[in-house]
Assembly symmetry: D2
Homo-oligomer: 427 residues x 4
């Protein structure tokens, strides 16, 4: 592909893409192709990708096994768009998902194919919880992120997203996440006390909606005991527990679901980003069967039958989840990342390492420092982003398949970035 | 691909797919591949497709030109998922869209890539209108359909969708669509009078949201004069005009935008279904530049950079919109369909033909009759659905590329279905 | 009582009364005492009162029979404030109300004493309707006025009141009142069609809330046939019919309830303004017994047991409602007023006489003219106000006990005011 | 007045009063007259009144000085109902209020006469705060009570009141009151942290609405330091501080306003219950002048010019607030009550004395015990009620003018009731 004139390139984006665009503002290069943990721009320059499509590329870019399935399906004129008609691709995905994921975990959940965005799946889960309980309010947490459509946005906490909506964001009770007021305040106990109080002023909720690790909110991690208390509280007050596993799913924390080792089985689980395994739009809600009260087509959407995504999703399950090698890899690689981040953290006053599995980051305290790390890294061949309420957490979201060599190389760049900044600050 | 055991097939869908599924309930076959206007089930049986992915397949299934672009992109490890980083695929799409669509129509609109579902694009448009105006309410119309996430659902009229939400659906003023109270009542004049009345009880709206042809609501068609009155009213009261062109877009009514021949240029236009040309999830909002007040990332979404969809969308623009052959085809084919439907309609008391372009249907008055037509057609090799408030309108949504021979064959089946039912009713 | 220094008088109002004050802006005199239809300012000047406390003084100021009851009660240390404890005063009021009003009309309604403002009684009625039906939305009408607290305000139509609320005014479906689109459009039929349409976009309502004559909205009068259609529609869709009779009650239209001669018996009736007969705060909701689903204290309020108001209310029932003399008086006096207003109206292009009973006014088309009439009248010894969406209706709201001589005198002043203005406009 | 037949008495209440009635259910006697702290039923039996109209009778029933003013006003045909026209009665009230209350406290607040119920005044204050800030949400607290109309109800915490509303109660952020999570958790610090966090998920509020002592919520008392933190937080985030002083006002806590000795001057103060001094409906909002942004009549209401209430209110200011004798009385009497309640509390495990001034109560832990105290007291000549989330706090709300002899007599009855119950429980 011949290179476009770069000045013209800049031009059409500036001329025509809405001011809502964001990543392209601090990474001004034009990407053309990618493989595994590496992406390339139009000049042929290579970047290590610790952004991974904001969690949509747990298995890396264009994994060969998935690509082959996809090419075969496209070349064979497989069904691309089927609404919710039955296709061989959907059937195979459901069979594989049942065999590889649900049955081994004794999960009786049913699968709803929603519109293929996380926000749409969250909206569907909230709607179902409200329908099942006949209640309006949903408990959502400080620093939670659940999407930008109105229902999901009401549950999202960041004012950056909320303030754009002149419509009031109703129907949400905001509760403090685990550890929000420091280690000595048990926010699950507080919420329990308030919901039990007939004059606590919180109407009985339809659901509790949470991430076990808050991917946008700064990698705050719920403890097992807190999750169990929240699950018990939901049960006690007749509300559904919805886990938004969109960013923590598919091995990011070490297991397929991020709740697997907590003893908690959510009523509804929302999956999306890495589900297709190839970065293709696909979202599902897992529904505990007693709550599957949908009428036919009650929540619909044109693209809920994305055949190509189902094909790659099936291939991903076959490639990565029929044994525990990925889980073991995550464990090893997590240790590598954590060790290096901890060393960096020790050099920065107030800094802490956050998250779990391959869902890790370093709170560098100063948002400007995080921003400088992001830009330095981009200049030195590493794509990486920050998160947290003030974007003060540098977030290492490498594909789970990143080699240890690649991991160490990327961490070196972060380390240099932090050192560089320390130097320049000192100067 | 070896056939699965059909009984097992049924089984995993029954066992595991949520009760929200719908199309697969009345079309119980398993589809495997498709080309143009034809789809095939796993037994090799061929069906003519007048459903066209509910409007997502205006150019038919797996068009060869698009498929080649797609295969080349996938095989070359093109960027599949890029958030909103700049990719060569996005740049080319924007350039092609600017050159082929926007400039020839003197449109200065900017392009927002939203989450790749129509509902998400509608949510984004509503949010932007509210942000720009600082107002909450949106005027939406009887029998309108705009999606199932909370903000879009508030604007959607059908109780089937609305009643599932225990959350109140706020922020919408419901107004009667063109012709809702019959040809003698000008609903635009009524709405104008009420909005001008300081005691009309309708707070000044942020936007008017409408489809020019109501695809789910029964193919009710807004007249040019009504649209112009609504556009003038929106301007008068300081509201934005949002056209949800999701189903009427990309040539369905004969022109790329359904408003092209009306003299109305909407402030915001929502496109989705057929935009990728290949049935892939992709949605954009066109924003008149003076209203592009988004902050970076204020409305975001993981899958807003769907590289494969951009590649096929670019190919579709090149294939179908660089000249007026598609427009001319639609004109000819529309006449064929309209003529045949009119003949059928004349045989059914109360029946009328509705819609325009290749966006046509026949109101058969009796929902049971429409349902029987759907099932008879499925049994005789034609996929077709119904719409309207009681599903009483048989909807001919053939790909625009359907040959006249195919069209006539499909219409024959509908004709037989109606005759058959007339007979069986008479018996 | 010695007169205060008038300049000081102005001063404390200016210094300390909130800018929300209104009547005192165009009537700058300080009133001291009143009797019947006459009020006096501190200089001893007499004014004929065609404002009548905005409908709270149907029996005039300080009626002797009521005053004697009140003086006796106060002097005897009667219970003034009792929450909802049983008092002899409450018991007597209920007995009198049952004997004189409810039984003769075969009404089984129960009586809820709410907080003693019309808005509070409307809030209570809306809340009960929502509780009984489990639904949220209430149908309210163009140009309706129901009060300024949040729930009542949502039902109130005028933007002057609505726009002060930054909170969104939810839960109301705004429908056009009888005659809103002119005599040829039956708005009850329109509403019926839309509510029967499963895709009409109006969720099933909890209630229809209406005034039979819109006292603030311009004296628009619902016809019997329209009221019957709305009552039937409410029944059909499972909603309660709430008549806000706050301004039309207690003989204002000729009968105690304004619906008496329409064949419609509302599920809930809200009474307030003239109920105490003496201008004292008192409000009740009449509840058809099958809907009296309140739990004890579920809607409460400190001043719901206003003993003094109950005493005067009982005296008013005894004085005015044990025979039909008041009803006959209203009929005669209404004819007098209507005749004179009609004559005035005939001289003003576009002008019409509106209302019924002693609830009459003249739409003088031009709001400035109405305002000049108000000021001219104040200068010439007549207190009168205007209403309507633009304050273009001069509203004759004389006490029902106003003598015919007084009526004619007041109408003469209005006549002069209109003539005067015609002259000054012509000049 | 001849006694009615008691059985008939019961009958009309049962037959005709709505099931919303409550106090009359546990106090089945019919009251006829009252003076000071004593009320009498129709058999002539005397009761000591520690209920005091739920705080509306701080100066006792029918105080002679106030009664004389009232009788003179009524006998002289004073203006009873004046909307917001200027009357001599209003002018005198404002002058007295300015001279006796506002000026000595250096308060520049203006006075809004709202509809004469506390709920209406709260609604007005909330609406003004939203108008002034352009924001929707209001922070209200656990166990707060602010009234039962929709806007006020949203701020009220008890599920008993909230659950009757099928309408969603929007626009309120519920925060824990001072001490809600025990003495070691500073809830003001928690709220501050969350509101400062850009991802705390609480949108910037229009106002903080609170009672300094929660009269219905169980006499929970805000500390000075907590109030100062909340006031500072309101200022910091650009919100108004609204103190609902409806029950704590007029000397109940020892000073006219309950905030006088805290160093906090609220932006808006809501007064109602004891303002008229005679149990008559009257409510005002005090508005810091820079926030008095009301347009004329923007919040209106028929009974906002209750002349009789203004006359007694003026007399009450003159009688009780021109010197500090009442304040001193409250101090002495408070010590008496507190001492006795403390002694009782010491005998009941878990029991505590709550409140301050003459706004005191004893948490007896067991709601049944509180209910038995209420009934025992009624049988032994004492009217008293309970409050708290489970009605577990026996609330001593005697008129401030209750003599020490009367106080001790009433406390004796409570003491006996508690002893009695202890005995019967032990038996």
């Amino acid at each position: 592909m011949p290179l476009s004139n770069p000045s013209h390139t800049t031009s059409v984006i500036d001329r025509r893409e809405s001011s809502a665009r964001s990543y392209c503002r601090w990474f001004p290069h034009t990407l053309t192709r990618a493989t595994g943990s590496l992406v390339y721009d139009e000049t042929g320059r290579e970047y290590l990708d610790f952004l991974a499509g904001a969690g949509a590329l747990n298995y890396g870019h264009n994994h060969p096994a998935l690509r082959e399935s996809l090419l075969e399906y496209v070349a064979g004129d497989g069904i691309v768009q089927s609404l919710d008609l039955t296709t061989a691709a959907k059937r195979e995905f459901l069979e594989e998902f049942e065999d590889t994921i649900l049955r081994p975990r004794s999960m009786k959940h049913r699968v709803q194919f929603t519109g293929p965005t996380g926000a749409n799946a969250v909206e569907s889960a909230l709607k179902l919880a409200r329908k099942v309980t006949g209640r309006t309010n949903v408990v959502a947490f400080t620093r939670g992120f659940h999407g930008c459509s109105l229902g999901a946005l009401a549950a999202t906490s960041a004012s950056h997203f909320r303030s754009s909506s002149a419509a009031s964001l109703h129907g949400v009770i905001r509760a403090p996440f685990d550890g929000y007021f420091g280690p000595d305040v048990d926010t699950a106990d507080m919420l329990t006390a308030q919901l039990r109080d007939p004059s606590g002023g919180l109407d009985a909720p339809a659901a509790f909606l949470l991430e076990t690790v808050q991917g946008e909110g700064g990698l705050n991690t719920a403890s097992k005991s807190w999750l169990r208390k929240i699950a018990a509280l939901a049960h006690e007050v007749g509300a559904l527990l919805i886990v938004d596993d969109i960013q923590a799913e598919c091995g990011r924390t070490g297991t397929f679901f991020s709740t697997e080792d907590t003893g908690v089985t959510p009523d509804l689980i929302v999956l999306s980003k890495s589900l297709s395994g190839y970065g293709l739009p696909m979202s599902i809600v897992l529904i505990s069967p007693e709550h599957d009260e949908w009428l036919p087509a009650e929540h619909n959407g044109t693209f809920r039958g994305n055949g190509m995504a189902m094909v790659t999703a099936t291939a991903a399950l076959r490639t990565f989840w029929r044994d525990d090698s990925l889980t073991n890899d995550v464990k090893r690689r997590s240790a590598v990342v954590r060790e290096r981040l901890t060393a960096m953290s020790n050099r920065i006053p107030g800094s802490v390492v956050k998250g779990r599995g391959m869902f890790l980051g370093i709170d560098v305290v100063d948002p400007d420092l995080a921003s400088q790390v992001r830009r330095f890294s981009a200049d030195h061949g590493l794509l990486i982003e920050s998160c947290g309420p003030r974007d003060e957490v540098v977030k290492v979201l490498a594909p789970l398949t990143t080699t240890e060599t690649q991991l160490r190389h990327g961490l070196d760049i972060i380390d240099q970035a932090l050192g560089q900044q320390a130097h320049s600050s000192a100067a």
